[in-house]
Amino acid sequence: MTDLSPAGALLLILWGTVVALDLVSVPQAMVARPVVAGAVAGWIAGDVEAGLRVGVLFELFALDVLPVGAVRYPDYGPATVTAAALAADSPWQFSLGLGAALGLGIAVLGGFSLQLVRRANARAIQQLSAALAAGESGAIRRLQYGSLLRDAARGAGLTLLGLGCAWVLARYAWLDRSTALGLTLVAVGCALSAVIGGAMRSAGRGPRLRWLGAGALVGLLVAAFR
């Protein structure tokens, strides 16, 4: 992990907050996608390559998620930011696995925190139900701004927690090279299983499955001859 300056750590927390807000609340510009969040976090931490490696890995997990209706899913944005910070400034082959372990833990926690924010939003609506029934526009605005603040606090807290854990892991979790490499291999294998499972589920049995197969064939050829 890079020795972060206070300004660097603050920038990462700010970026983690932005990506957490972007996931659901505002503006859904897709900066919460791991490949984007990871690249920028890597750049802030001074190691774009590590950020991209982490971002692409978490993107494979994120492709397994279809955010429809009230489905519950992990929050990969702040998770990618903290994992990229942990993986920065080390050869990715030995840091990606530990970063993935931390990031997935934060992602699960992020998904849980999203439920807490949604329940808090519902409670706030119940408290202002009389004003809503009276058609007060001010009550709607108060609810909206309050909810956005709650989600921003969630993102900032999650990123801060993740960076704290990353600091502890970088300082105290000593892994020999073969274990670190093994973690990376397991993380990459699991990420591939996530994206393959998600792609097959999305494809169903229709023409999309045939296109998926054709694409995989092209991808194999490109990978073999590039």
Binding site: V108, A122, Q144, S147, A187, S193, A194, A199, M200
Partner: protein, 244 residues
């Protein structure tokens, strides 16, 4: 009716107050506020009723929420009965959810993410990431403007406007394209990681991938890929600890 642009901007935060009771309802009420302002001077009682209706339960894909927002705002100005407007909102939830989710979450996003992953692996790096953000956001902004305008023009006839629109044809095309793009990306990304580690070790990772696909399919929702991964990582560390 004024306030169209402000309403469009507010639609970016339509999920801001997402909750399990009203879902997008309050966000829709927040976006509707600028559109309903003129009604306050014309008919204050109707305005109050319209504000109440605008924040009630609603759910759909956020990128197509403008259709429902515009249609209900137009219906309020046209003096349609309140119960009819409430029924229109309810009726729009499912189709706008299904169409938007297929177009964006199952179509455009995986298509562009697949392209981005291919770009990153082939060396485009920042260009791939910037291209993804630019194409996605341009598509989404254009869709949002179209949706709000169509809703405002169609009012209670928004169902017919949706049926005649480009959305169904776009879904037919974007789905297979997404499958193709993700199909190309999977082996390329796998090789991007594994070729630098060395192919003997990579076979271990591919065995983990095959096991993961089989096990998560077998157990279904009770063993997600994230749980499987965390379990595998913990088991590896424990194994190395016991047998150094």
């Amino acid at each position: 009716m004024n306030g169209g642009w402000r309403a469009w901007l507010r639609l970016f935060a339509v999920q801001g107050t997402w909750n399990y009771e009203r879902m997008l309802g309050v966000g829709m009420g927040y976006a509707a506020e600028p559109l309903l302002e003129d009604l306050k001077t014309v008919d204050p009682v109707r305005h109050t009723e319209a504000v109440v209706r605008s924040a009630e339960f609603f759910n759909c894909n956020p990128n197509l929420a403008g259709l429902a927002l515009g249609a209900t705002a137009r219906a309020e100005y046209d003096g349609a009965p309140g119960a009819q407007i409430a029924r229109l909102r309810t009726a729009l939830c499912s189709p706008l959810g299904a169409l938007g989710d297929q177009l964006f979450w199952a179509g455009l996003v995986p298509l562009l993410i697949g392209g981005t992953l291919i770009g990153v692996v082939l060396g485009a790096r920042w260009w791939a990431v910037a291209g993804f953000l630019a194409i996605y956001n341009l598509s989404r902004i254009a869709t949002g403007v179209w949706a709000l305008r169509t809703g405002l023009d169609a009012g209670m006839g928004v169902g017919a406007a949706i049926a005649q629109s480009w959305i169904s044809k776009a879904i037919e095309r974007v789905g297979p394209a997404a499958g193709f793009c993700i199909g190309i990306a999977i082996p390329l990304v796998g090789a991007w990681y594994l070729e630098e580690i060395g192919w003997p070790a990579a076979f271990g990772a591919l065995a983990v991938a095959a096991t993961g696909v089989a096990v998560t399919r077998w157990f279904g929702a009770s063993l997600t890929t994230v749980r499987f991964t965390l379990l595998a990582l913990i088991l590896l560390v424990l194994f190395r600890w016991v047998l150094p």
